[in-house]
């Protein structure tokens, strides 16, 4: 068999398959072994990426924004700091507080990692390089993401700690509620591509990335997914200055490490999903002939979105809980529903009128954004007038 340098992944797979079959193993068993190998590479890659490199990058970036140096002692530029942290976490005492639900307490961090890694099964890295191209990919992403929410609630409620309990409460207000606009925003790429399969959605963006066709849905997905991942400014469930560390206050040692890795990985997952569903995934010049190039495009887009998330994270103050709820239920959810209806109408309208599809979608989105801003402006004007008439009637104090 000659090695095909244009498509190394398929070639490596074929090579291994031929080798294993040559050893006289059953074809079914060979497929399973290959799958296991692929999963090992994927899970190992994801966990290393999140646990080692991204924590370093994130801390370095945070340090620069906050006018300090950040980790700079362990290795060049402190790049081995996360490894030192991991060793430290391994040698820490593993404490389970008295009165905790021991089984649920132990299960929660593992579930968190499982949920964060599980999403990567349907993310296409390059052409033909995808765990499995499910025909219900979008639904799968939502379902597995929800397990992460569940794990946080489990960790918070099983700890027998009041701060952790408050963290679990806030999970409901934040992660559960923000799932609504996120999933409704996901309807838009589904509708534009005509499929729920993630691979199909990427293929459908050949004519134009969905960020051009549906900028409102892109923004909605990005914001609500950020809240879903518990990233600042939406980090109420682990607000250090209010409820110490929220759901993971009682976790120590590697159990805390697992929560930490899962949270970071979730952030990367959000970036990867935004890149895949709205920024064209691996699409780019020459990606079809050279899948490796597709992987590079995908990595660049993911890194870009992740950096944007990090910048937002370090430059915004934490949102207040009543604002959090109002933002979700009074702005994001109605706007997401409106975006779906507008996209559906534009999708029907474009062929009927014989106009360019992208132009129709873009115009509809701009109109929607303009209407939203007008509504917000009217709302703000109303509040301002009320403040001028009777100052005492507004903002009756802190929430919670």
């Amino acid at each position: 068999m000659d090695f095909n340098f244009q498509d190394p992944f398929t070639s490596i797979g074929e090579l291994l398959r031929g080798l294993l079959l040559g050893w006289g193993l059953a074809p079914g068993l060979v497929s399973l072994i290959l799958m296991l190998l692929g999963a090992l590479v994927l899970a190992g890659f994801a966990m290393t990426l999140a646990g080692v490199f991204l924590t370093w990058l994130d801390r370095k970036l945070a340090a620069r924004i906050q006018d300090r140096l950040g980790p700079n002692r362990v290795g060049p530029f402190g790049i081995f700091q996360p490894i030192a942290d991991a060793i430290k976490l391994i040698t820490k005492e593993d404490i389970i507080p008295e009165g905790a639900e021991r089984a649920i307490f132990k299960l929660a961090p593992m579930l968190a990692v499982m949920s964060a890694v599980g999403i990567w099964a349907v993310v296409p890295f390059a052409p033909r390089l995808i765990g499995t191209d499910l025909n219900v990919g979008v639904l799968y992403i939502v379902a597995v993401g929800a397990i992460g929410t569940l794990s946080i609630m489990m960790g918070g409620m099983a700890s027998n700690n009041k701060y952790a309990m408050l963290g679990a409460f806030r999970t409901v207000a934040q992660m559960v509620a923000y799932e609504i606009p996120m999933v409704i925003a996901l309807l838009v790429p589904t509708m534009l591509a005509g499929t729920m399969g993630v691979g199909g959605i990427v293929e459908a963006q050949r004519g134009g990335w969905f960020i051009v066709l549906a900028p409102v849905a892109t923004l909605l997905f990005f914001v609500s997914a950020m809240a879903e991942a518990g990233r600042a400014p939406f980090d109420l469930l682990e607000a250090e200055s209010e409820i110490v560390a929220g759901y993971n206050v009682e976790y120590s040692g590697m159990k805390f490490g697992m929560f930490y890795v899962a949270e970071f990985l979730h952030g990367v997952t959000i970036a990867a999903l935004t890149a895949t569903l709205f920024l064209g995934g691996w699409l780019g010049p020459g990606a079809q002939q050279f899948p490796l190039l597709g992987l590079v495009y995908f990595a660049i887009k993911t890194a870009f979105v992740y950096l944007v998330i990090s910048l937002i994270r370090f430059s915004m103050p934490r949102i207040r809980i009543d604002h959090l709820l109002a933002f979700n239920w009074k702005l994001l959810t109605p706007l997401a529903l409106a975006a779906v209806i507008v996209t559906a109408i534009a999708d029907k309208l474009a062929p009927a009128l014989g106009w360019n599809r992208a132009v129709v979608h873009l115009t509809a989105n701009i109109l929607l954004a303009w209407a939203t801003f007008e509504a917000l402006r009217a709302y703000a004007r109303g509040i301002r007038q009320r403040v001028e008439v009777q100052p005492a009637a507004v903002e009756t104090g802190g929430a919670d």
Binding site: G44, I95, G131, L187
Partner: protein
């Protein structure tokens, strides 16, 4: 297709096993010197007061109920979004009516103050 889900099962099993192994390593290498004070739930350095499990404020139930309302709606919307291209105009009008009916309930909840905190 059930075989489509096999890689997912493999990946999820592997991720869980990896997480379990890492936690196990921490368990093996970490010291174990429990004391009564150390095992107490953390409460900013004070002795814990009362039970750790408290009743949940009713706001959160309201949010959870609203979530169910919309989540069920989305389950209906997803297959509709997939086949919208193949369907005629009727499907679009049908779905707009469906969303409008749901919005009535949403507006009711809004006016009732379910979305207000406090």
């Amino acid at each position: 297709m059930p075989t489509d889900f096999l890689p997912i099962a493999v990946l999820i099993a592997l991720a869980t096993v990896l997480a379990f192994l890492v936690v196990l390593i921490g368990h093996l290498f970490g010291p174990r010197r429990p004391t009564a004070t150390k095992l107490e739930p953390y409460e900013s350095g004070m002795r814990p007061y009362g039970p750790g499990q408290r009743r949940m404020p009713v706001h959160f139930y309201l949010v959870a109920m609203l979530f169910i309302l919309f989540d069920v709606e989305i389950v209906f919307l997803l297959p509709w979004a997939v086949v919208l291209r193949q369907l005629r105009l009727f499907a679009l009008i049908e779905m707009v009516v469906f969303i409008a009916v749901l919005l009535v309930g949403f507006v009711y909840a809004w006016k009732k103050g379910a979305l207000e905190w406090e």
